[in-house]
Symmetry: C2
Subunit: 345 residues, 2 copies
């Protein structure tokens, strides 16, 4: 089966979401016109990955617009505002979600008739998705140049097709480099607590036929020490102006370990992940998720009741640990603030 994985789609005026909590063992889809189901899917990580969350949210707004049953422009606008607000409250860290909602909000702010806004919102959602597909290709092709010399590339969590709705960012770079015949192999961290590496990245790499080894998160340092890793590349959930990058919990440790071992640490993400409104990572809100993600697995309890657990979903390598950031606009090595500003022109 050569079909791309489609974590989120717009089909017959419904939002179709591949339920990633069931992967890799079951491929089941949520089909809905109800934004509340999309909010729930985002919250419980049925759809995850910063770009894919944004696209799912865009389609949720589109579905809300398409299925609006009320009367009058004001009622329509209020309805869309309510949907946008609910989606904005679903998860706090990924920048793309807010970037998408701002684009849709703008249409409503400037719209005149229900029919126009409805059409424009659906078009904009599809446009956002299409842009992501193009962006992923740019990122992948640009990023692949980083791996001319081949070697074992470590990636954390999942920044593949499942995370973006396109070709992937960090994993897109890896897939592209492999497709170009570069002599690469992959080390995939399992990524506790929710095992996006073991479940999703492994699934994508198996489908792509790329050789890889799965490790627990705790093995990365030892592998670096032994010369078994030549580069690290991850996605991002939000990037501050100065390059500080929020990404899946564990990314910070990997960045520090990479630096200690003289291994390049790369971030690959679309410009929609860059938040120019914040100066540094200090201003990024890190989501704390439910304890049962750590204390249970597939319904099986692995820790006794009464144990206090921390479960921050993200952490934040500061820019000084990042060798380069790859966006659709190019590869930036330091001086990110200038680079991002230039990209915008």
């Amino acid at each position: 089966m050569k079909a791309e994985l489609k974590p989120v789609e717009w089909k017959n005026n419904l939002v179709v979401i591949l339920d990633q909590t069931l992967l890799p063992f079951r491929e089941e889809y949520i089909k809905t016109s109800d934004y509340r189901e999309v909010v729930s899917a985002i919250r419980r990580l049925a759809v995850r990955g910063a770009p894919a969350i944004g696209i799912a949210a865009a389609y949720a707004v589109a579905a809300g617009a398409h299925n609006f049953q009320g009367r009058g422009v004001l009622s329509f606008i209020k309805n869309i505002y309510r949907i946008i607000q609910a989606l904005a409250d679903s998860r706090p860290t990924a920048r793309n979600l807010f970037w998408v909602l701002e684009r849709l909000q703008k249409i409503v702010n400037e719209g005149q008739t229900v029919a126009d806004m409805r059409r424009a919102l659906v078009n904009e959602a599809q446009q956002i998705h299409e842009e992501q597909i193009v962006t992923d290709r740019y990122i992948s092709q640009l990023g692949a140049k980083l791996f001319e010399r081949g070697g074992a590339i470590l990636t954390h969590c999942n920044a593949g097709a499942l995370a973006t709705g396109g070709f992937g960012t960090a994993l897109g770079v890896i897939k592209q480099a492999y497709a170009e015949g570069k002599a690469i192999t992959v080390i995939a961290t399992e990524t506790r607590p929710l095992l996006q590496g073991a479940r999703l990245t492994a699934f994508e790499l198996q489908k792509a036929g790329i050789p890889f080894t799965l490790i627990t998160d705790s093995m990365a340092g030892s592998f670096m020490r032994q010369g078994k890793i030549q580069a690290v590349i991850t996605g991002a959930d939000r990037i501050a102006s100065n390059g500080d990058t929020a990404n899946k919990i564990g990314t910070y440790s990997l960045a520090v370990l990479a630096k200690e071992h003289g291994i390049p640490f790369y971030v690959a993400a679309p410009m929609s992940t860059v938040d120019l409104s914040i100066a540094s990572g200090q201003d990024i809100i890190i989501e704390e998720r439910p304890a049962d993600e750590v204390t249970t697995l597939g319904g099986t309890r692995i820790v006794k009741r009464g144990v206090k657990v921390a479960n921050p979903a993200f952490d934040m390598p500061p820019h000084e640990y990042i060798t380069a950031i790859v966006t659709e606009n190019g590869i930036m090595r330091g001086e990110y603030e200038k680079g991002f500003a230039k990209s915008r022109q």
Copy 2:
């Protein structure tokens, strides 16, 4: 219930092993006079922790000696040799196992009659266990001095009563410091793949009433960055002459991260863990364990079949990442080769 946890005991001439694979949910004991059952218990980590493995092996030899049904000294000696060999083949990394077997081997090498050797082997096994209990107390009391200023102490895997058959080493230090009224809290890493932190250290800390937070292994770096960890202390499975220390996979990453954040990284272990026959960690054999420890979690399969997995049980912080090593002979800060030699006098 205030009783100490007893991972291994000698009772009515049987080896009694608490099956730690079932903790924290079930407390079941293996009672056997058959060394092959002890080998199996060691292999599948029903008994684990370098000192506890050594004690279990000692009692397995004692049981073999006690239950010897054959005739003649030569037959007895051959039988004990076979038992020692089987135990030596059970797990390669922990030094204590070999240190114990060498002590028992010596008795057989120098013994004259079956009755004498039998008595001496049983006595020596019990002696080894009693020494460990005393040693743990020394280590704990010495080590507690490291935490005068209190703070949050991170420990990895389990180096408590369950790992030693006594009070514990790294976790013994923590328990002792807490008992002395020092203002400490604990951060326990869950310790993938086999979750000794989530299952065993959490269990011991709950029993001891010490406040702690459980985290995934991947969170440690971020916690350090945020100033949420003031020290790290772990046990050891084998320490080379120069202080290079083999311990549970993930320890190396923690040592690097601690150094990067200016946080002291301590190792607590009995002198029986020190292997003066090897100059550096390069000569320590790292056990590679079965893939299904990584591909399953709490009995649930989390990875598709056909995925290549690495599962080294240990890694090795070199001495330059270690702030101090605590043994029953004192606290050593660097110059470990000299320190260990002095300790032996």
